[in-house]
Symmetry: C2
DNA sequence: TCCAGCGCCGTTACCGCTAACATAGCGCTT
DNA sequence: AAGCGCTATGTTAGCGGTAACGGCGCTGGA
């Protein structure tokens, strides 16, 4: 192993490799990118020198020169939701051997933060952007429109997208759940969810849910909202509170599985007959539920699939010659579990 | 030679803003970076033009010219572990107003993937690298040593780091748990954990745990390992399996809280007296536990704090003039919960 | 024999921005 | 009136790569 000749702390450049291997920088560049014709002897000489020096190419310079960046920006609201890591894993799986690489940004459900994160990402000129939701600030939307790269808005299809859209209809998911519950004979229905006004998908589910109830001549008997804290614990507390306040409730619809699981545990602890006396349902299909004493009714949000499809659009766009604007609506499947009465 | 007139789809550059506002590119650059003296009138003219055009600076070019990149690489094994998102949130909180931005890479506990991710990251010349664990391939370690930027290895202090290290001693954590269990009078102790050979921290905890038992003249009565699937469910299944196989067990030590929670639920479902007949303990202090019927004994791994400190080192290095090599060992606190007998 | 064609490699001109150094204009001192 | 120190702005020369093109030596068919 030879050492870099001059200042050992100076970062290595193509020139160092070129000098070490006795060929031009251009040839080194060709070898390292596997592009263009290079003889086997030269190739090996160069690779040997690069490895010996410990050369790591400078993608900044490369990207500037070639106007190509192998990064895909992924913007999501949160990491603590379990849902988003799964979407991410779908994305990276699909991107695996395309040479593209996801770069993540988190907004904490704040539109302003989203705008800032998007700006930061676009300033690195990624090859594409995947962003959760259809609701953005005007500025953010304008940036997406002018980005000049494929944009995929994910999770939600209830609205108008900038470019491509992959997701499910949360409105219809809520509606379908309402229909199922009503069909099972429940009549006094409560909703428990987060207080976050920026969680548009939870809001749309609730709207669809109410719509479904209305179609059967029903309306929500009671509601309970929370913010922050351990979701499981909050689920317990809220369940206790709402059942104390409105004892006539015979069904509880939770905006996510985590608080639903808390509610289920509370009911079981307190000897409440589920699903006889009270039925329960959540949303998301997290595999946490598999370990619960009883399986909570839920709806799968197709998270991995959404990630895959979105990545596929980004990766495929150049090849397929598509101009964009696809809308892919996935169908969530209802998993009745053990917490809705069988009719 | 000047560029072709005005292709509306051509990405904007400093020159466009400079022409639109009638000053030089340099002045525009100064305004947008808030650096150097610019008169208020000029500043406003430039900002107005930039906004009107929807200009987004090209950080690739900027980084190349200034040899400065506001990115910090963060390399972690997994996102589905709950632990890592929390570390991440500590990092981003600390980096919030330093102008630095975390960029994440996931290795899935694969050393080869770690090497690849690290290479990719370094090729973007980040200002620092935060990487989980002390165990890396030789190549990866060499890259870290030659990166020329601060490196912080996190989570674990049981070993030798490349540069700075922030974490807890998993060996001592295991040892301390063993001492507590022995002191509470348990004598037939089983271990349940993951099969992953690359999860060095879990391995070190187990080693420390065995050491603690040995100090009291004890050894593990039985062990059970799993891989993949819903951790909660696996916890149930493994608990059932190990208790069937070794009914004399009076304590179960789980390698993480999730399977511990599964075990706890199984015990409660099956009418097993916890902590009288069997004691239980996990590891991590995930807030999921707050919602369980009984609070599982666990040990907090200082996740957010680790993230904060690591980010602080990266962000502070230039200011503090430190050359690196700090080792910060945090003290995990044992939370006895309700699943260990009181003595 | 000649030259088109190919494999291989080098030269040149940038990519979009910024560090570093000029420079122009101003008010003030001496 | 010349000189000084400012502030506000412009000019020049890269940063480390890559696209595009050109050139050389060799081969083989006309």
């Amino acid at each position: 192993m030879t050492r870099p000749p001059a200042d050992p702390r100076r970062p290595l450049t193509l020139r160092d490799v070129s000098e070490a291997s006795g060929v031009s920088e251009m040839t080194v560049s060709r070898v390292l990118r596997n592009r263009g014709d290079v003889s086997d002897t030269t190739r090996e000489k160069v690779l040997g020198a690069a490895k010996a020096l410990g050369y790591v190419p400078n993608k900044i310079a490369g990207a500037l020169a070639s106007q190509r960046v192998n990064l895909v920006g992924v913007i999501i609201p949160s990491l603590s939701n379990l849902v988003f890591p799964e979407v991410l894993s779908g994305i990276s799986a699909e991107l695996e051997d395309t040479g593209l690489q996801p770069v993540m940004g988190v907004t904490n459900y704040s539109p302003a933060k989203e705008e800032a994160v998007l700006y930061e990402m676009l300033s690195w000129r990624p090859s594409g952007v995947i962003i959760a939701g259809l609701e953005h600030t005007d500025t953010a939307r304008a940036m997406l429109e002018n980005a000049g790269v494929p944009v995929v808005e994910i999770m939600d299809v209830d609205g108008v997208g900038v470019d491509s859209v992959v997701g499910i209809s949360h409105r219809r998911a809520g509606l379908q759940m309402a229909e199922t519950i009503v069909a099972a004979g429940y009549r006094h229905i409560g909703f428990l969810g987060t207080k976050m006004p920026e969680d548009h998908r939870a809001r749309k589910r609730l709207e669809g849910f109410k719509e479904g109830l209305a179609a059967a001549g029903l309306q929500l008997t009671d509601e309970e909202f929370y913010s922050g804290g351990s979701a499981l614990l909050k689920g317990r507390e809220m369940t206790e509170a709402i059942l104390k306040r409105s004892p006539q409730l015979d069904f509880l619809y939770y905006s996510n599985d985590m608080i639903g699981a808390g509610g289920l545990l509370w009911c079981l602890d307190n000897g409440i007959d589920v699903p006889g006396r009270v039925g329960l349902a959540g949303f998301n299909g997290v595999d946490l539920l598999d370990g619960l004493p009883r399986r909570l009714a839920t709806m799968d949000a197709c998270r991995r699939e959404i990630g895959r499809k979105a990545a596929e659009i980004i990766a495929g766009r150049p090849h397929s010659g598509l101009i964009g604007g696809e809308v892919i609506e996935l169908e969530p499947t209802l998993q009745p579990g053990d917490t809705i009465r069988r009719v």
